[in-house]
Symmetry: C2
Subunit: 433 residues, 2 copies
């Protein structure tokens, strides 16, 4: 049952991802037609710089007026790959109003204000698909929304930012410092000229918000996600991790509380054991663990960014949305029925690895141990060693048992006030055990 | 938009998987209702032994007449977890005729005669979903059918049978022999009393047929899959693998030919480098690599069998099928438009690791090398060593470059005929490099 009127697609943005989407739509037109059940036609491409030569794209399709394009009324699907909050949000909601479904790769917008988009899609009976927004080509949104729809997800734990993973991998394997590793990432194109969104964890936090919302069938916004970047991770942290049989990764962690009544979402660097599969995720790759009540532990691994992988995810969504359109149906919309509250970071139960510079004299360990006890934090191991320079200072490395983050940070605050504690060299959470 | 008339589900089979499906349908009824948009109700359970006590299932639902159950006419979805070819095939097609969509975990039937099922579903406008048929809870069918629908899959390479992976893992890590490892697998419940389907590779071959068909949008039947089991893998093979920096895994490999005009599907033990992520898949876990033109290399990992994981996959499909039913739509059906032929094993391009027992005298290596050259097989490395017992024999280990499997097996046949070759101790393919 093949119909001949083509489905019309408008492309908003024609950068690295958009141009690859347009290219594959042309080179694989026959495959797409067979898989959808109707041809798809690129009906317009909105760009900022119309003069730029774009190989393989008919110049007549190029426009700078994205709003007019999404308002045309004959567009079946809008692919939004411009990113950012505005004008993306206005364009997407306008597209819904004028009859189009939307495929988006816009993690920032979905994390900031996914509800507006979901509600607009629902109101007008359109699809909103966004596999490409999290972890590039790795199928993750669809498995969570659909494959695990009959299960209860308890935890999502993953490396969802390739830039920071590349930097930490270089610090680990080449012993590079943070700045040096960042420079290498920039030179190789893994980091942008302004790397803030990546290294400060904003990108990963947006993805954590999206994943948590879908995994737990609730609403989680970017502001709900505790966020720490990797700019303060040092070579010494990597060395300490090695001594523990660990490495350091920037993790996005979404958890359902043990009582099931709340959830948490956070992004921060953490030590994980070398035996954990995430420890061996190298360079700019992404990998995400999903723990579900019936399914057990699943892992999804692949390239988390880049033009081609992201285009693959966009085109998979395009096929689904077009098929829905032909069937007169829509795919799964927002599922936020649990309305679970998002608890603050202080409620998260985790472990700390703390390096202290202390005075090298008797009684210090007892003093330090007392502070932990007063805050209800139980100590797992302590390593104490005098400095090689014999300067009257020693270093103390404490690894705690699991405790609420608030108790742990309260402990650190109190430790800083001790006369015998000269400084807190590093604090890092330990995960994945 | 919540409707109150429940969707009616018939369960065929109430063993390890079926009982877990029934249990979760009861304990998580509210979640399923919210995610589907209507309640689902277990309307009948067909079993062979009706007298058996089944906790949590209303005895009034139990029947031995599966045919009458699927013919009732008020059933929305039939879940088939009885396995085997008949009566499963007849029950599924009858279910389609009488108005039901089907969720199945039946890999043997899908590999043997998926076409009959697909065609019946299509003819009656029903859904046929079967995520649980391959790799248990690991979302694999849906990512291949939907997430990668806009991409071109070139290769699927995976560990899809937990029993054999457990056995090979034990042989590798504990130095156990095959029989000993099989006994342990049986004792722990990883192997069935009659382990033939697993250890001879039939189970993995069925999964390879299903995966190849979906990945390449063509039809691949069980008979098209080259199949070798693990019963002839020895401790010596594992030891040889270790010397090469490899381990031995039973792999399912589906490949598109370099010219894109044919495909191959095969299951056999193979050496893979320890650095390959599949090498570290332990115990009864499954993992599958998918290589696609745009997406690059993706990996999916998780528990490949067991009641709960399989039930998770079944219930994910149940939610999707129920949602389709409510929308008056169907999900993706068979996509076999490429009609790519399946080439025989002889056309597969791979590498061999061959251990020969040879006479310990000059000229043997030259003779052996000549045989390889005559068959157009280029040698990568040769290791030659005299036996410790000085009995006039030596062993020769040859690793080839990539060559067609027919040339490789022709070489081995010719080697066997050489006077100086006393025996071929082992032949194993080398993959994943």
């Amino acid at each position: 049952m093949m119909r001949t009127r083509p489905l019309k697609v408008a492309l908003l943005g024609c950068g690295v991802v958009g141009s690859e989407v347009a290219r594959i739509m042309t080179t694989h037109a026959d495959d797409l037609t067979a898989r959808i059940g109707a041809p798809v036609e690129l009906a317009g491409v909105a760009v900022r710089r119309p003069a730029k030569v774009r190989a393989g794209i008919d110049p007549a399709l190029i426009t700078t007026d994205a709003t007019a394009l999404v308002k045309r009324g004959d567009i079946d699907v809008v692919i939004e790959v411009i990113g950012g909050i505005e004008p993306a949000r206005a364009l997407i909601t306008t597209a819904f109003e004028h009859g189009a479904s939307v495929v988006s790769a816009n993690k920032a917008l979905l994390a900031e204000d996914g509800t507006t988009l979901y509600e607009a899609a629902e109101r007008h009976g359109r699809d909103l698909y966004f596999e490409a927004a999290v972890a590039g080509a790795i199928p993750l949104i669809r498995p969570l929304r659909e494959s695990l729809a009959g299960d209860t997800v308890n935890r999502v734990l993953g490396i969802v930012n390739g830039t920071t993973n590349f930097i930490l991998d270089r610090m680990d394997t080449a012993g590079a410092g943070y700045s040096e590793a960042l420079d290498e990432a920039t030179a190789l194109g893994y980091a942008e000229a302004d790397p803030t969104a990546d290294v400060e964890g904003f990108d990963a936090a947006a993805k954590a918000a999206i994943l948590a919302g879908i995994a737990f069938h609730t609403r989680v916004r970017l502001d709900d996600v505790h966020r720490e970047g990797i700019t303060e991770v040092t070579s010494a942290d990597l060395a300490s991790a090695k001594q523990m049989g660990c490495t350091v990764k920037l993790l996005a962690i979404c958890e359902r509380a043990a009582d099931g009544r709340s959830v948490t979402a956070r992004v921060h660097p953490a030590m994980i054991p070398l035996s954990h599969p995430l420890a061996s995720v190298r360079e700019a790759y992404n990998a995400v663990f999903v723990e579900a009540a019936a399914a057990g532990q699943l892992m999804f691994y692949g390239p988390g960014a880049g033009g081609s992988p992201t285009a693959s995810a966009v085109l998979g969504d395009l096929v689904a949305v077009c098929r829905n359109k032909l069937a007169g149906a829509t795919g799964p919309g927002e599922s936020a029925y649990t309305r679970l509250p998002v608890s603050p970071m202080g409620d998260v139960v985790t472990r700390y690895h703390i390096s202290l510079d202390v005075a090298d004299k008797p009684g210090v360990l007892a003093q330090v141990a007392t502070v932990f006890a007063e805050h209800g934090v139980s100590i797992d191991t302590v390593r104490q060693k005098g400095r090689a320079d014999g300067g009257g200072e020693a270093s103390l490395v404490v690894v705690t048992h699991r405790a609420p983050d608030a108790a742990l940070s309260g402990t650190v605050e109190a430790l800083r006030k001790l006369d015998t504690v000269r400084g807190v060299a590093s604090i890092m959470r330990v995960e994945g055990e």
